[in-house]
């Protein structure tokens, strides 16, 4: 199996790593860089819990090979706010949009990317944007309310 040198930027920090061809970005983040905020659940692109921002775009990291991200920028939940909680994270706490918490990093990332692209989304646009992430606790109402609330404060 081929091995590849991969230079990538994760949350503003540069990394040079060696990755075997079959290693996914998800495994690189969790196993090699020890950033476990990105969750591993179905590993087949259904649940969306492994979502990261790849050059700012929400992407399921279980469906990306590590070798493909050479020269690219990855943002995980660890780097989404740069220290203080961002407006989306504060709104999630305020609205009780976190139950078991396992899907929360993915929702924070897709919501933050949505508000950057579309600062004042409608409820329908919020529902569309979060369509790739599943919450097994089914607390979608609070998640949608939190994102709409965050859009008012930005």
């Amino acid at each position: 199996m081929s091995k590849h040198r991969v230079s990538l930027n994760v949350n503003g920090q540069h990394y040079d790593v060696e990755a075997e061809a079959n290693k996914t970005l998800l495994r690189l983040l969790r196993d090699d860089l020890e950033m476990t905020g990105t969750k591993c659940a179905c590993e087949r692109g259904d649940c969306g819990l492994c979502t990261v921002l790849l050059d700012g775009v929400p992407t399921k990291s279980c469906l990306v090979l590590a070798v493909e991200v050479d020269g690219r920028e990855v943002t995980t939940v660890e780097g989404i706010s740069g220290g203080e909680l961002n407006a989306v994270q504060r709104a999630f706490i305020k609205h009780g949009a976190i139950q078991c918490g396992f899907c929360t990093p993915a929702f924070i990332l897709v919501a933050t990317a949505l508000l950057k692209r579309n600062p004042k989304p409608t409820e329908e646009e919020v529902k569309d944007a979060i369509g790739g992430v599943l919450c097994r606790c089914t607390g979608y109402r609070q998640i949608i309310d939190a994102i709409l609330d965050a859009s008012k404060s930005t």
Partner: protein
């Protein structure tokens, strides 16, 4: 854990043609990878080489002009297609279909060409391409050729691509002015799921009204129902034409029962969706 393979990333179509000609029997092409990586993780596919087409700049282009129509490179993602106003206005069936495939995060990676080459009976984009009479642009080490989309699907997960051939782009000519198209998908949930039934149609209202209807998830391949087009051209009011076309669809398709629903429900809903879509496109009540 995923199967082991060598990853190759050619920078030109020529380089890809050479690689594929050399490794055709042991290689799989990767565009978005949203199907391929899952199949390799499940060990259903065990390619020795994975050849990524995203390193080829030409494959990322989406072009349109009135003379040549629309041309979508093999590495263009569904969300890139959804950003195109031309696709929304002139190739609406494709725009609708792209917007129902999987979910918005997957659509940042999944490609049109990948969905076509996967040749799933449940493909969302295939019925749209069938009513729009799209062409698949194919290349091999020997040269280039074009395959009409109607001849591209040969069976479940089987295409007309020969050994060492790959898709460079999907192209669609400008529909006649005044033509309207659309795609309706019935799924168990609003997102993430494959279709119970998918129906695309293209209606031309000027002169003698005509309609093309294609479906997914009702046969071993996505199918264009010629009988529906002929039934629609029969004399009668628009409502009668629509009823005849829907009956022709139900007479032609042969759905199966699976995890999503039983064949009787599929058959019935194929008629319902055909009727609903044709009413919407013709402006009938």
């Amino acid at each position: 854990m995923m199967v082991k393979f060598d990853y190759l990333r050619p920078k030109t179509e020529m380089e890809l043609a050479t690689l594929l000609s050399k490794h055709a029997d042991e290689a799989k092409l990767m565009a978005g990878g949203t199907d391929l990586l899952v199949l390799m993780r499940d060990k259903i596919l065990r390619p020795r080489y994975v050849i990524d087409v995203k390193g080829i700049p030409e494959m990322h282009k989406i072009n349109y002009d009135e003379q040549n129509g629309l041309r979508i490179g093999a590495a263009v993602t569904l969300n890139e297609i959804l950003k195109s106003d031309v696709v929304r206005e002139k190739f609406t069936a494709l725009w609708d279909a792209a917007g129902t495939l999987a979910d918005p995060t997957i659509r940042n990676r999944a490609t049109l060409a990948g969905n076509v080459c996967n040749a799933s009976p449940a493909s969302d984009t295939a019925p749209a391409l069938l009513v729009l009479d799209a062409e698949v642009e194919v290349r091999g080490e020997w040269g280039e050729r074009t395959i009409p989309i109607q001849e591209f699907f040969k069976g479940v997960k089987k295409t007309a691509l020969g050994r060492g051939e790959f898709v460079t782009a999907i192209s669609v000519s400008d529909p006649l002015s005044g033509a309207k198209s659309g795609y309706l998908k019935l799924g168990r949930t609003k997102g993430e799921d494959l279709s119970v039934v998918g129906v695309a149609a293209l209606v031309t209202n000027s002169g003698n009204p005509s309609a093309r209807v294609a479906l997914s998830s009702v046969a071993p391949t996505p199918i264009l129902v010629h009988e529906a087009q002929r039934a629609f051209e029969d004399a009668g009011s628009v409502d009668e034409k629509i009823e005849k076309a829907a009956a022709a669809v139900m007479g032609k398709i042969c759905p199966i029962s699976d995890i999503r629903c039983c064949k009787e429900y599929r058959l019935s809903m194929a008629g319902v969706l055909t009727r609903r879509l044709l009413k919407k496109l013709t402006g009938a009540s």
